[in-house]
Amino acid sequence: MKERNFFNVVTVAIIALWLLIFAFIPNIMMFIISFFERSETGFFDVAFTLDNYKSFFSSLYFQVLFNSFKMATITTALVLLIGYPFAYILARSNFKYKSLLAILVIIPYWTSALIRTYAIKVLLTTNGIINTTLETVGIIDAPLNLLYTEGAVILGLVYTLLPFMILPLYATIDKLDVRYLEAAGDLGASRFKVFTYIIIPLTVPGIIAGCLLVFLPSLGLFYIPDILGGAKNLLIGNLIKDQFLLARNWPFGSAVSNLLMIIMAFMLFAYYKSAKKINSKVL
């Protein structure tokens, strides 16, 4: 701890204070509210109860949870599958304007998210671009129902979250030490082996960062299931929003949000445990 100097103390103190005031206090507030009762006239009554947690344990909400995690997992997997090769090729290329190309990934995202979702809708609609093209070419006779399906929701999620995978991956792959790869090649490792045993393990921090930044937000993006999926299935983000606004049931809404956080924290913990085990075996 000899390095506790002014610079470090100040920089850590700023973020610690910030998060304490603007993240910890609000979340504790909501945590406490989740043990209160719903109120007819206010948003909650100060009276201790565990009912909000109990009522979550029903097949209905497990189904909601299952559907949401399914969507989030498929989205994250697809985003990783598309984003990793992209980030890899771009980061290891020798283009003149490499960093410009990386920034160009996110520029479309500076327009409104809602408006881009509408644009995807235009693409998928019955007489939209995809259907018209397929019909003209003669692949299909009647327009396909592309919009208001699970596939449309996943497409929307993948599109919206792709840069959140690409940028952290790019930043990680970009620093990859070429000498490792050359050494492995000199030792006769095949390119496949170099990739699986050297490149992937070295870029794991980037993969984890990308997956976190995609998986967690994808559970909360309620407007994409609403607009592209026709709001036909309830996902956890919509559930929490409806409980807070429509049913005016803050205690239950915060209980759901807390449970969601606990489940995700547990998953993260289990992941880190297993990752450590694997690493210690390899090393």
Binding site: T11, I15, A16, F22, I82, L90, I106, S112, K175
Partner: protein, 261 residues
């Protein structure tokens, strides 16, 4: 040769995927069909209407100023803190990291409502400041996580070496650490800027009358139907950011080149 060719094709395909919705937007902004349901004639009507729409233009300017401030503040706080957190162990480190994940996991509406309650309790007038605080809070996890992925595996010996040569903390940070993590810092800034430009629910609860931001305004149009002026606006935003970024990158590149010559 053919492999390089394939790689380039893949890159361009992903870029196409990323930009197709933009092309549709740009097309719609010049299309006379009001609801975008058919292909009409070329028109500049929506652009003319946009410039008459004081509220929409003002909200975009507000959003731009807000997003730049948010991204800059979040990146500065997040970068400095990440480096210190990465380098040193201190009491409560795990707690701090947990808080970062908590922010990322909390649904926007939960954060929005609870922050509003907090602002009301501490009697902070709702407006630019409260929005800034909210968006910086939302952005911090993105900056920190992006930074951590780059810092992982960073050789701490280099820092020690710098120290031995007499560099103080600030100098070490500025001349040794920052240059090697710069791509992640830029990524953090870009992600924060995007978060701020896109947040509607959090903004709804934490802004006050008189400071309207674009994502909120567009989100509130949904019931009555989003007007085509918004397509025109999005086209302009896209065009401006595209041109600005390209120019700044080319200028920056020229500068670094001459520097190293």
């Amino acid at each position: 040769m053919s492999e390089k060719y394939l790689k380039n094709i893949y890159l361009w395909m992903v870029y196409l995927f990323l930009y197709i919705p933009l092309f549709i937007l740009i097309f719609l902004s010049f299309n006379s069909s009001r609801y975008g349901t058919s292909i009409g004639e070329f028109t500049l009507e929506w652009y003319v209407k946009l410039f008459d729409n004081k509220g929409l233009v003002e909200a975009s300017l507000n959003s731009f100023i807000l997003a730049i401030s948010v991204a800059t503040i979040a990146t500065v706080i997040g970068t400095l803190a990440s480096v210190s957190i990465f380098r040193f162990n201190f009491f409560g480190k795990n707690f701090l990291l947990t808080l970062i994940y908590v922010v990322l996991m909390s649904p926007d509406i939960v954060m929005g409502i609870s922050l509003l309650i907090l602002f009301l309790v501490i009697d902070l007038p709702l407006g630019f400041t409260t929005l800034l605080i909210t968006h910086v809070t939302f952005s911090l996890p993105f900056v920190v996580i992006a930074l951590f992925s780059r810092l992982a595996g960073f050789d701490k010996n280099i820092i020690e070496a710098a120290k031995d040569l007499g560099a103080d903390s600030l100098k070490t940070f500025w001349y040794i650490i920052l240059p090697s993590i710069l791509p992640a810092v830029v990524a953090g800034w870009l992600l924060s800027f995007t978060i701020s430009m896109d947040d509607s629910i959090g903004s709804f609860f934490t802004t006050g009358p008189g400071f309207e931001v674009l994502p909120l305004k567009i989100y509130s149009m949904v019931r009555l139907g989003v007007t085509p002026e918004v397509n025109a606006l999005s086209t302009i935003i896209f065009g401006l950011s595209f041109i600005l970024i390209v120019i700044s990158q080319i200028l920056l590149r020229d500068k670094t080149k001459t520097k190293f010559k």
